[in-house]
């Protein structure tokens, strides 16, 4: 009798805590949902695959939610799971080997979009660099990112899109920090190069480029 009375509140507490945990989980996930999907889309470059990756990530996160000690760390934690899910599951399912990093190319590694557009004599009365960035559509940036080889794309997404530090990126990918630095440099240069190519094809580079032919 006494035991019975003691059991009931414990069960209610357990039930309530599961409910609270799910409510918190759903609230955190809802807050991050567009970024989770957007990040997965940048990694997989395919909406159906991105949905699969996010679903798998959140299934894993929910199974392991009991190990989360600090809710403040939820965001980093869940994005780390997303990256790992992409790297392991997605690659296995698609039977795609990791793309090797490209050979070093000093000239390409130093490519700067700014230097292509910058016109020193316009310093005081023109701003072609800013105008160029304003002319890029969202899809121009998406295409340039999607065109990066996977080894670079993952690092650029982790640092530039998710705001991971070099050490966090290295830890998640299990590569040395120096590798993160070199892939990031190369990835950024390739990205800027792709944007420059697009700008020239679209005739949107320079302050007076509107009338230029393709």
């Amino acid at each position: 009798m006494i035991e019975g009375r003691a059991e009931a509140p414990r069960e209610r507490r357990a039930g309530a805590s599961d409910e609270v945990r799910r409510r918190f989980f759903e609230a955190d996930v809802e807050r991050l949902m567009d970024r989770l999907f957007g990040t997965a889309l940048r990694l997989t470059r395919n909406r159906a695959d991105a949905e699969d990756i996010v679903a798998e990530t959140l299934a894993q996160a929910w199974r392991r939610i009991g190990t989360m000690r600090d809710r403040q760390c939820f965001e980093k934690w869940v994005f780390r799971i997303l990256i790992n899910t992409f790297i392991s599951d997605y690659r296995h399912r698609r039977a795609q080997p990791a793309q090797d990093a490209l050979d070093s190319d000093d000239e390409l590694d130093r490519f700067s979009l700014y230097e292509q557009v910058h016109q020193p004599f316009l310093l005081w009365w023109g701003d072609p660099e800013r105008q160029l960035l304003d002319k890029f559509l969202r899809e121009d940036i998406d295409h340039a990112l999607d065109a990066l080889p996977e080894a670079y794309r993952v690092v650029v997404v982790m640092v530039e899109v998710l705001g991971f530090s070099y050490a966090e990126t290295a830890g998640t990918l299990q590569v040395p920090v120096g590798t993160v630095r070199s892939r990031l440099n190369r990835g950024r240069a390739l990205l800027q190069h792709a944007l420059w190519r697009q700008a020239r094809q679209l005739g949107i580079h320079g302050a007076h480029a509107r009338g230029e032919s393709r």
Partner: protein, 77 residues
């Protein structure tokens, strides 16, 4: 006032600076340089803006089908 830093070195280390991945002494030197060098400041602003545009790429409205899938997945566990 810390020791001055040359434009070439600022440009060389600008992305690490913007990534917040630089030692505090160099960070201070670059910050001071950017405060008075219009050419380097302009380059830093360009890289910052480009970065903001790239960050937007990771934010895409998730389809309702995905939200339904997640809800049913949570119901199963």
């Amino acid at each position: 006032m810390t020791e001055d830093i040359r434009c070439e070195e600022v440009i060389e280390r600008l992305l690490e600076f913007l990534d917040d991945e630089i030692d505090s002494v160099t960070e201070q030197r670059i910050s001071e340089h950017l405060a008075h060098c219009r050419a380097c400041f302009s380059r830093a602003e360009f890289e910052r803006r480009l970065r903001a545009r790239i960050a937007e790429s990771g934010d895409v409205q998730a389809p309702e089908s995905l939200r339904r899938r997640i809800r049913s997945l949570l119901d199963r566990y």
